[in-house]
């Protein structure tokens, strides 16, 4: 049986080599328009000369995020898919338990109109919504930056404050504690209610837990993902198909076959 296995192994190699040769032939036929795939050069953590990011072991950083330069990410924080944290001109520090949701951009200012160069400081348990843009600002603990909000240079969002979705917080605006600001340009809307305050802290904890699930899934290597694919194929069931299947029962008054 050993020789049979060896024979199959060799035949497998012949077929693979043939396939690769055909691939090269096809590339040549495509001429100058052909595309050869390269390894992904995306660097999740990248240093700019001597400024290297420091990410806590317990934090979740999505592989498609880009963290470059002088960035410090605290314990239990999560940086979701597609985020860009560019700490090249100055430093960014993200506290513990903070979540920076998908496609956000945290950038620092090297020069701005007022001449002040500001690092971006994000406190603990902050939730920064999807597609937010934070540029050279300070966000204190337990704040909530709504989805697609833009917070510009020198802005200071205090503890438990909330920036509504789609808001544009202009330069050097100070958002006092416990207030909701929104609109373009951002102005005071209302005060944060008690339940919203509790909601923020529970939200941060929820996202932290969710991040661990994503972290576990993203760090799987080829064997584990293949195994999982196999399991899915075996247990594949479509909810709609199954529900229709369950409906195929004989009505009550039809006599069953004897």
């Amino acid at each position: 049986m050993g020789t049979m296995g060896k024979a199959f192994y060799n035949v497998g190699f012949w077929i693979r080599e043939t396939g690769q040769a055909l691939d090269r032939l096809g590339c040549r036929l495509q001429g100058k328009n052909h595309f050869r795939e390269q390894l992904s050069r995306h660097r999740t953590l990248m240093n700019v000369y001597d400024k290297a990011p420091y990410v806590n072991k317990e934090a979740f950083v999505a592989p498609s995020a880009s963290i470059t330069g002088d960035v410090h990410v605290g314990r239990g924080s999560s940086i979701w898919y597609g985020c860009v944290l560019r700490g090249d001109a100055n430093s960014i520090s993200v506290g513990a338990g903070t979540s920076i949701q998908d496609n956000s951009l945290v950038h620092v200012a090297k020069s701005n109109l007022s001449g002040k160069v500001l690092p971006t400081v994000i406190g603990d348990n902050v939730t920064i919504g999807h597609s937010a843009v934070l540029h050279g600002c300070t966000v204190e603990d337990e704040a909530y930056i709504g989805a697609s909000a833009t917070v510009l240079d020198g802005a200071h969002v205090e503890k438990n404050a909330m920036v509504a979705s789609g808001a544009l917080v202009r330069q050097n605006t100070r958002i006092p504690s416990g207030e909701v600001w929104g609109g373009n340009p951002a102005r005071f809307l209302r005060k944060v209610t008690e339940e919203e305050r509790a909601f923020f802290s529970s939200l941060a904890a929820d996202y932290s837990n969710l991040a661990q699930v994503h972290a576990a899934e993203n760090t799987k290597d080829l064997d584990e993902t293949d195994f999982k694919k196999l399991l899915y194929k075996k247990n594949a069931s479509d909810a709609e198909y199954d529900s229709v299947l369950n409906d195929l029962t004989l009505p009550e008054n039809v006599p069953k076959a004897a």
Partner: protein, 256 residues
């Protein structure tokens, strides 16, 4: 003469036999030696202790979470930049363009027939919706979602256009054949009636759509479907990156 011949032949045979035997025994020893001694790689590769700085695999496109596996139809175009996580279903003829993130980890996301989610959108589903209805994000057929939008637990009925950089918050409903202008923000629970054009932050009524405009909506979706067909045909069914990986590993001396 015969005896000497016999002697020579005997000696020759003996010699051949013995040398063969010796050679075979050496060969056996050599084989034993080879199997016991594993060839050492030229350079020792140690994984980084705390965090992987660079993974040649990049970001996986489809991320199953728990028992949920994102499902992509066979003729749907999903760009390689896209991240589909959790309960996401991309139906036939639809397309998800570069950089979009469809995160169905808390609730279901469905992208209907011939719809498209354009570049850098974020589609997320919250755990619960303020309206009390199921908080899944449902994008029905022939919907065009413009670039850089944010859709959160909303329902978009058939044949709509959502403008670029729009934000649809939890529980919002965009009824069939309506258009949302670029940059519009729908607060939670907002409903856009059928056949109207809304826009602004927060979204306000602008005007009703004429019949011709309503007929253009599915045409736009179909046009983007054709465009996505071109992109789809550019990609081989399976990536050939593994060849580069093998070359790479060989140059580093890691066993392939």
């Amino acid at each position: 003469m015969a005896t000497s011949l016999a002697r020579i032949s005997r000696r020759g045979i003996a010699y051949a036999l013995s040398s063969n035997l010796i050679r075979r025994s050496f060969a056996a020893e050599a084989v034993v030696l080879k199997t016991t001694e594993v060839p050492k790689p030229i350079s020792e590769v140690t994984p980084s202790p705390d965090r992987v700085k660079w993974d040649y695999r990049g970001q996986r496109q489809i991320i199953p979470l728990g028992q949920w596996l994102p499902k992509v139809a066979v003729d749907a175009y999903v760009a390689p930049n896209v991240v589909l996580a959790g309960q996401v279903t991309v139906w036939d003829g639809s397309s998800v363009w570069n950089g979009a993130v469809l995160r169905g980890d808390l609730n279901k996301i469905t992208l209907g027939f011939c719809s498209n989610v354009q570049e850098r959108c974020v589609v997320h589903a919250a755990w619960s919706s303020p309206t009390g209805l199921p908080a899944e994000t449902l994008i029905d057929r022939y919907v065009t979602v413009g670039a850089y939008s944010l859709l959160r637990s909303c329902t978009i009925e058939p044949e709509c256009i959502i403008g670029q950089h729009s934000i649809l918050m939890e529980g919002s409903l965009v009824e069939t054949r309506s258009i949302l202008e670029a940059g519009s923000v729908l607060p939670p629970g907002r409903r856009i009636p059928s056949g109207e054009l809304w826009g602004g932050n927060p979204a306000r009524f602008i005007r009703t759509l004429t019949n011709e405009e309503t007929l253009e909506i599915p045409k736009l979706a179909v046009a983007i479907n054709h465009l996505s067909g071109d992109y789809f045909s550019e990609y081989l069914p399976y990536s050939t990156v593994y060849l580069e990986v093998e070359k790479f590993k060989k140059s580093l001396g890691i066993a392939v």
